[in-house]
């Protein structure tokens, strides 16, 4: 259905656009307290079917530097929309209004959602909304996006839907620039483009992206000439250093005159909580130890103190009362032996084998959400920058890596905010080495069986190993493939915000939901298939599992895995299925090892030694990105080459590393 209104949310990064999107549409998109959380366009329907709301990445100006910013430029020029809802951070008016001016110059119907009014109030900033609105000539609505305050008024505004036509704002940029604008607009008359003055200004500001939007544009050289002439004229006449700065200044003068009449600041702020916290977490010496300490705490809680006992309880419930109940139900309805085997040995052990790890996964997600929503994420980037610089990356690349701990797919997407194309590609390639939550069930299963005493430490070692391998790969790639591009780093540090219980819960739940959904689809389907392959064989149905198709397939690969210490068909078959989604490894193992009455862990001890179990976990950590990650790598890199490379890298690194671990371990007598 086409909606009458399509409202685009545009504003600076980290001003609460997505928070507002969530509260107006009742949906949930990713919210976090750093710049660059949203990296793609998302469309939602405003409550009561008022129209479409389009959430976009944050931008400072319409000239894009990074890929996520380019999404907005393209949107403004290509997509159709009826209104702009410009989100402005009330506590940072001066900077935010720079974008507002550019949008006003475009001349589309527009409303300002003045967000973070609670923060502005705390800082003693008093804003006369009426005055601001009448000087700008568009409505200004104060809101607090995260509590939903003021959202009603916004909805009412869009309901009334009586739109005035808006005249584009025209500022006087001084004789030098105005004459350049004149020359560019006359060049543009040859093409079928709208908003010529706006385009001319954007081109002067260095917005190359919009040129690619003009079909058959052939005056590139003239344009470049005009720009460089204008720039040197500004410099010669001592007006400004660069064109971009000059345009910025003119807009700023206009903004200052606006703010003079509508804003008053009552008190000078004292050292804020943010300053005090920063003094500790970005401390000269303690910065990195504090980060590692927090990670350690997260692992202890997830695997040891809290998550493990909860998972155990759930497991007891699944294998005990639940299995019994299903079994008696199947008997009551008189299900055939085939169905009974399918349900109990296939679905319940396969899907259940993965679902028991829900508590651990939710605890992990809770901590990741806490990290994202507090503002600490940006500090981690700063603290890690020196280390990352050493391997040809920058601290910002650490954010996708941390997001990758939850799931590699959003991690790969998050790399869009990295300015340099080289660093972005590298980050995309590294993210699959981050141990995502889907690998967690595999670890939990194995550490439970082999390393009961040191669970958290063993798992922590795997996470660190993933990071370590990623850093080595980055170092190798950046000193071979891309030697010439300079690494850059600039990061905005937002003030800390105490996460709200509601937001935290929502963001944990949304991540966890994906896991449960996967259990219902991939893992369910995978379990049925695997069970069937283990039930059927060349000689018919209900064969001994060692003669099943699954054993046959696994047996083909098993010999290659012998030097790694787990050359059994069972291990090979589980690894094979893990490409679908890493949790399926556990589902497969639960099915394979559950068929005889033997206890799973007892059975596993026969097939693995602690050393080969560790090797197996390392292999699962590194071997191939899952199907969804492979797909997103292809999409984000626009190339099959990188996709295949990521698979090949993973497989060979996993093989070599595990080979070393196992063979060296055997030599020193660990086997």
């Amino acid at each position: 259905m086409m909606h009458a209104q399509q409202i685009a949310l545009i504003g600076n990064p980290n001003t609460g656009k997505t928070s507002l999107f969530n509260s107006l549409t009742g949906s949930y998109e990713y919210v976090g307290n750093w710049s660059g959380v949203t990296v793609e366009k998302k469309v939602g329907i405003i409550k009561k079917q008022l129209g479409e709301l389009i959430d976009l990445p944050g931008i400072y100006t319409i000239s894009p530097i990074s890929k996520d910013e380019g999404v907005v430029t393209d949107f403004l020029l290509q997509d159709s929309f009826t209104d702009i809802l410009n989100i402005v951070d009330a506590s940072q008016l001066k900077r935010n209004l720079q974008l507002t001016v550019q949008l006003l110059e475009l001349g589309k119907p527009m409303v300002i959602g003045l967000n973070m009014t609670d923060v502005a109030k705390l800082r003693g900033i008093k804003i006369d909304y009426q005055c601001l609105s009448s000087s700008l000539g568009i409505p200004v609505m104060p809101i607090v996006a995260r509590t939903g305050k003021g959202c009603k008024d916004l909805i009412n505004y869009f309901k009334e839907n009586e739109k005035k036509t808006i005249h584009p704002l025209t500022l006087d940029y001084g004789p030098v620039v105005e004459s350049a604008i004149g020359r560019i607009t006359s060049l543009l008359t040859a093409y079928n483009v709208q908003h010529k003055r706006w385009m001319a200004l954007q081109i002067l500001e260095g917005n190359n992206r919009i040129l690619s939007q003009i079909k058959g544009f052939s005056h590139l050289q003239e344009l470049e000439q005009i720009c460089s002439q204008t720039e040197s004229e500004l410099l010669n006449k001592n007006i400004a250093q660069t064109l971009q700065q000059h345009i910025h200044h003119i807009r700023e003068a206009y903004i200052d005159s606006l703010l003079n009449s509508s804003v008053s600041i009552s008190k000078q702020s004292m050292p804020t909580l943010t300053d005090q916290v920063d003094r500790i977490v970005t401390h000269k010496l303690l910065g990195i130890p504090i980060f590692l300490g927090l990670m350690f705490l997260m692992f202890m809680l997830t695997f040891d103190w809290l998550g493990f006992p909860l998972s155990d309880l759930l497991d007891a419930f699944f294998t005990g009362p639940l299995t019994d109940a299903i079994e008696s139900f199947l008997q009551v309805i008189g299900a055939s032996a085939f169905i009974e085997a399918l349900v109990l040995n296939g679905i319940v052990s396969g899907v259940g084998g993965v679902l028991v790890f829900i508590p651990q996964i939710f605890i992990l997600f809770f901590f990741l959400s806490l990290l994202e929503d507090s503002g600490y994420m940006a500090r981690v980037a700063v603290v890690m920058d020196r280390l990352m610089e050493g391997i040809g990356l920058n601290g910002k690349a650490f954010i996708p890596l941390i997001i990758g701990f939850g799931c590699n797919v959003p991690g790969v997407m998050a790399a869009r905010t990295i300015e340099q194309p080289k660093e972005r590609m590298l980050t995309i390639m590294l993210t699959p080495f981050m141990s995502c939550s889907a690998r967690l069930p595999v670890y939990a299963l194995f550490v439970g069986a082999f390393f009961a005493k040191y669970q958290a430490l063993v798992v922590l070692s795997l996470y660190l190993l993933g990071i370590f391998v990623a850093l080595i790969v980055a170092k190798v790639m950046s000193s071979t493939t891309y030697k010439n591009e300079k690494s850059l780093f600039i990061m905005e540090l937002p003030p800390y915000r105490l996460p709200q219980v509601r937001t935290l819960w929502r963001s944990t739940w949304e991540k966890g939901k994906g896991f449960i959904r996967k259990a219902g689809t991939y893992i369910f389907g995978g379990s049925v298939l695997i069970w069937f392959l283990s039930y059927a064989g060349p000689s018919g149905f209900a064969v001994d599992m060692n003669d099943s198709f699954l054993a046959l397939i696994g047996g083909l690969i098993a010999p290659i895995l012998i030097p790694l210490g787990f050359g059994t068909w069972q291990a090979a078959a589980s690894l094979l299925t893990g490409f679908l989604a890493k949790e399926v490894v556990v589902a497969t193992m639960s099915i394979i090892y559950f068929v005889p009455e033997a206890q799973l862990q007892g059975f596993m001890v026969e097939q693995f030694s602690p050393l080969s179990a560790y090797g197996f976990m390392v292999f699962v950590l590194l071997y191939v990105p899952c199907l969804a990650t492979v797909a997103v790598i292809k999409k984000e890199s626009h190339s099959k080459k990188w996709m295949f490379l990521s698979i090949a890298y993973g497989l060979s690194i996993a093989y070599i590393l595990v080979l070393i671990i196992y063979q060296v371990g055997k030599l020193v007598g660990l086997a």
Binding site: Y60, D278, L285, R386, I490, L493
Partner: protein, 74 residues
Amino acid sequence: MNLTELAQGEKAHVRDFSAVSKIVQRRLVQLGVKENEEICLKRKLPFGGPCMIETCGLCISIRLDEAMRIEVRK
């Protein structure tokens, strides 16, 4: 003098930052850094790591070598 010569927590005014690399320079302008604007060096991280600066009520982190190219006057 350049920005990194300030003591921690010391304030100064930006004189010139045209030597900063192009992309970082563009971002700095977007974030509100400009000539004559007050700027404060909040912290330098060890081992030649990045430094944190504050301007217009906003905290930004850039690398030391870029900060050295920002000329300031007290």
